[in-house]
Symmetry: C2
Subunit: 233 residues, 2 copies
């Protein structure tokens, strides 16, 4: 059906919220600080879309997501009244985004899918961030594609189209796999096939968004092993 599978990463492949909250809690324990670390992870992540929007709109040139995460950390620390943190500690905290644990089915599912398809992250994360996550979680990518290749951020069409072009494939020979309906609407608009995998606790037990597919995506799967089954891998 398709030759390559493109994966959203934050939320779809890795559980960013639990991992970031854990690193924030470890930081708190080391420094004798107590906060609601999951809420702080959500706040930090909440600054992600507006920061990218300045780049998508053209009011700022492309910078790596690592840079945005670091800037947004400064703002988050201020908001949580923890503004007295040294630069080196901030750098280390920001690298929490390089150590996100995959969902349990991600690596085994990708390993099965790899027997039949080319696999690449098409994430808003930059190349070095994706390489570190792959090492951390054993994710068997063929290469890293996505935002840094395109020098822009999803859901801009350039990110999907540049990723297909990098593999010398037509958009319809690629499938975007994501836990987010908006990512799939954008990928479909660029001519890619679409696969939805629900991640119902990405935002915690009270999650209300993306609990179900919002369109007739080409494949709808429960997890990456189910995806492998449905894609014949």
């Amino acid at each position: 059906m398709v030759q390559a599978l493109f994966f959203d990463v934050f939320g779809t492949v890795v559980d960013w919220r639990t991992s970031v909250a854990r690193e924030l809690a470890q930081f708190g324990a080391r420094h004798g600080i107590d906060r609601d670390w999951e809420a702080m992870a959500d706040h930090w992540r909440g600054l992600y879309q507006p920061a990218m929007e300045r780049i998508r709109s053209g009011s700022r040139g492309y910078v790596k997501l690592d840079t945005l995460h670091r800037e947004n950390l400064d703002s988050t620390l201020d908001t949580y009244g923890i503004g007295e943190v040294a630069e080196g500690v901030r750098d280390g905290l920001s690298r929490a985004w390089h150590r996100l644990d995959p969902w349990p089915d991600s690596a085994p599912g990708l390993t099965r899918l790899r027997t039949r398809y080319l696999l690449a992250p098409v994430s808003n994360g930059n190349i070095s961030l994706m390489v570190q996550l792959a090492r951390h979680g054993g994710l068997p990518w063929d290469t890293v594609l996505g935002s840094e290749i395109a020098q822009d951020y999803k859901p801009k069409p350039a990110v999907y189209l540049a990723s297909a072009a990098a593999l010398s494939l037509a958009p319809q020979d690629c499938m975007m796999v994501a836990a987010h309906n908006d990512d799939l609407f954008a990928a479909r608009a660029s001519g890619l096939k679409t696969g939805f995998v629900a991640r119902p606790v990405e935002h915690g037990a009270a999650q209300t968004t993306d609990l179900a597919p919002e369109s007739d995506w080409d494949v709808i799967a429960d997890d990456f092993l189910d995806l492998a089954e449905k894609l014949g891998a």
Copy 2:
């Protein structure tokens, strides 16, 4: 010493000449044509530098090496008096460059090196070509860097510098590994560390070039297993 190893691929990781000559011979056998297939492989490869030079000099915009290989095949077939080959057959022949066998020590050496370093091809080959070679030869790259990332061709500094920047590393935290002294002179000029591995039969038994290191490269190894040994992996 360094965090990432960058590899030249054609000649350093894979034995392009034997592999291309073999595919040409198979093509000849299917079509009842006899030629000196190794000489024809050399001729095809010989058009590589002048084709890239037009792009390096700015007289042509960046196109993928796949495109140059395909154009150079047309010229080579004409030179060898085999101009009556169908388009589809030419496309298949050109993909010989996607099926190059690695030298015997390449995959085991890279697998050892991977335990300690990030690994990426920094080749003039395009991303999809590198992905196909990795699948064909079991080459465990972390991601594909090189010419397509930089939209230019080695030995232009942009290719080395863009590859280091993609991993968010300074040039001196990266080592270029190549069987070609000119690649290493260029990498060193851009601030990278250098590793030389001789491939004395890349051009056949009568090879006269790159038989020995021509400078005090940071590491000089007999093959990739020796390189792993010398780099502590």
